[in-house]
């Protein structure tokens, strides 16, 4: 499980996370919603150690992420993250994009890595694009490739940072479908998202991020049906 305990983080003088606490159990899907700039993306990059924190603790299966002794490279094999900007490696084909980390980080043989890659790519519906370069793919296809790339490492946890926000509306659905399949398979997921329908239908719990803290967290029915916190109510009424 992932435990975030009273985490504070500032960028210079700008405080972004002001005491975030959150626990995500294995197999749970937690959606994080909130206005832009509330710190949601920063939380994700802190969980996998890309960003340092100022105070507090983040524990992944008991390992303290920001302890000096922690081997972040090892930790990141267990946590997959997909960003808003797909970050496809432009000089590699789709298949090579997905097999790169398994081969170089996990030391797999080319054939073993390709077997896994083909499987993950077929799950996201890209079986016919294996030897294509990312520049020839649509945004939605690149994002699905990024998901397959992260999954090829067989992580225990998947973090999604607004993965549909950079896509044209007609491409959003295919990516959300991929996420839903993943959730149904039992993956532990934290999804920062603006897609309310997705949050309502797929999550076990929905968290509302406001001014650098988790203002409210509840299962979808309670969250959308009877929000407690005034800010949550305000936010939800603005979207309707």
């Amino acid at each position: 499980m992932i435990e975030v305990q009273d985490v504070h983080k500032s960028f210079g003088s700008l405080a972004v996370l002001k005491g975030v606490s959150l626990t995500v159990r294995k197999g749970e899907v937690v959606s994080v919603i909130g206005s832009s700039g509330s710190g949601k993306s920063t939380l994700l990059t802190c969980i996998n150690g890309l960003e340092p924190i100022n105070s507090g603790h983040i524990l992944v299966d008991g390992t303290e992420v920001h302890a000096p002794a922690t081997n972040l490279n090892l930790l990141r094999r267990r946590i997959g993250i997909v960003f808003q900007q797909f970050n496809a490696f432009p000089h590699l084909t789709v298949l090579e994009n997905v097999t790169l980390a398994p081969r170089k980080v996990l030391g797999m043989s080319k054939s073993a890595a390709e077997e896994i890659a083909v499987k993950q790519l077929s799950h996201v519906g890209l079986s016919d694009k294996l030897s294509v370069y990312p520049s020839r793919l649509s945004g939605g296809q690149q994002q699905r490739m990024a998901i397959a790339r992260a999954l090829a490492m067989s992580p225990d946890y998947m973090l999604f940072d607004e993965v549909t926000s950079a896509l044209d509306p007609q491409l959003v659905g295919e990516v959300l479908d991929a996420l839903k399949l993943l959730a149904d398979d039992g993956m532990t997921m934290i999804c920062v998202t603006h897609e309310m329908a997705f949050a309502r239908d797929v999550s076990d719990r929905v968290a509302f991020f406001h001014k650098g803290v988790v203002a409210e967290i509840a299962p979808p029915a309670a969250f959308f049906g009877a929000p407690q916190h005034p800010e949550t109510k305000q936010f939800l009424s603005n979207i309707r």
């Binding site: 996998n48 890309l50 490279n73 090892l74 990141r76 094999r77 997959g80 993250i81 960003f83 900007q85 970050n87 490696f89 432009p90 000089h91 790169l100 980390a101 170089k104 980080v105 996990l106 370069y133 990312p134 520049s135 020839r136 990024a146 790339r149 992260a150 490492m153």
Partner: protein, 221 residues
């Protein structure tokens, strides 16, 4: 006006010799590029690192290479190092000088290319569990070379042209050296050097064309 008969047949007869010299020229140029690129990558990384000493040393190399003549750098390798007891042969001194020069110019090219690659590429690689060196080697560096390819091609042609400076330090085996040797023996300066000029032109053009073909094959994405 021309109180002189051109003896072109002598130049043509010397063609095999000069072609051998051309091979040595290519050898020096290619070696200087391979070594120069390797040093240039290290210099570019050093200049962008947080380590002040590394940055200072790298910047010194680059600025000296770019603000002093190539001939000076070759002289330093050949005459200057003698004060430290290091006596380089003309071939090695020429190679060292051109490599020093290549590394300086190419590191600036690489630095610009690295700045053009979004930091999110390295982030994505690190997020997959790659260490910093692996992330650089497999993800960032290939893109850096792709961006830098045209300037690298230009630098290769420069290196070929720079090898002609070898005659100032006594190199006799490259194209210019062979030509000069023939010149000293026969005093047919114009004919021999005209032939050499044609050969240099052809080599330079061939390199440019091959580079374009290579780019087309390598970078088809």
């Amino acid at each position: 006006m021309f109180n002189y008969t051109f003896h072109w047949y002598q130049a043509f007869r010397a063609l095999p010799q000069m072609l051998h010299g051309a091979l040595v020229t290519l050898e020096v140029a290619m070696l200087s590029m391979v070594l120069g690129v390797a040093f240039a990558v290290l210099l570019a990384v050093a200049r962008m690192s947080g380590n002040r000493v590394a940055r200072g040393l790298a910047t010194t190399w680059v600025e000296v290479a770019r603000n002093t003549p190539a001939l000076f750098q070759i002289y330093m390798a050949h005459f200057g190092l003698g004060a430290f007891g290091i006596h380089l042969s003309p071939f090695t001194a020429l190679l060292a000088g051109i490599t020093f020069n290549n590394a300086g110019y190419l590191s600036e090219t690489f630095r610009g290319a690295l700045n053009a690659i979004p930091p999110t590429q390295a982030r994505a690689a690190r997020s997959l569990g790659m260490g910093p060196v692996r992330a650089f080697w497999s993800v960032v560096m290939p893109q850096m070379f792709r961006i830098s390819f045209p300037p690298m091609t230009n630098q290769m042609v420069w290196a070929i042209l720079m090898t002609s400076l070898g005659i100032t330090v006594g190199l006799a085996t490259d194209l210019a050296g062979v030509t000069q040797g023939l010149n000293v023996k026969t005093f047919r300066t114009f004919e021999f050097f005209a032939m050499a000029a044609v050969l240099y032109y052809l080599i330079a053009k061939t390199v440019m064309l091959s580079a374009r073909l290579l780019a087309w094959r390598l970078f088809r994405y």
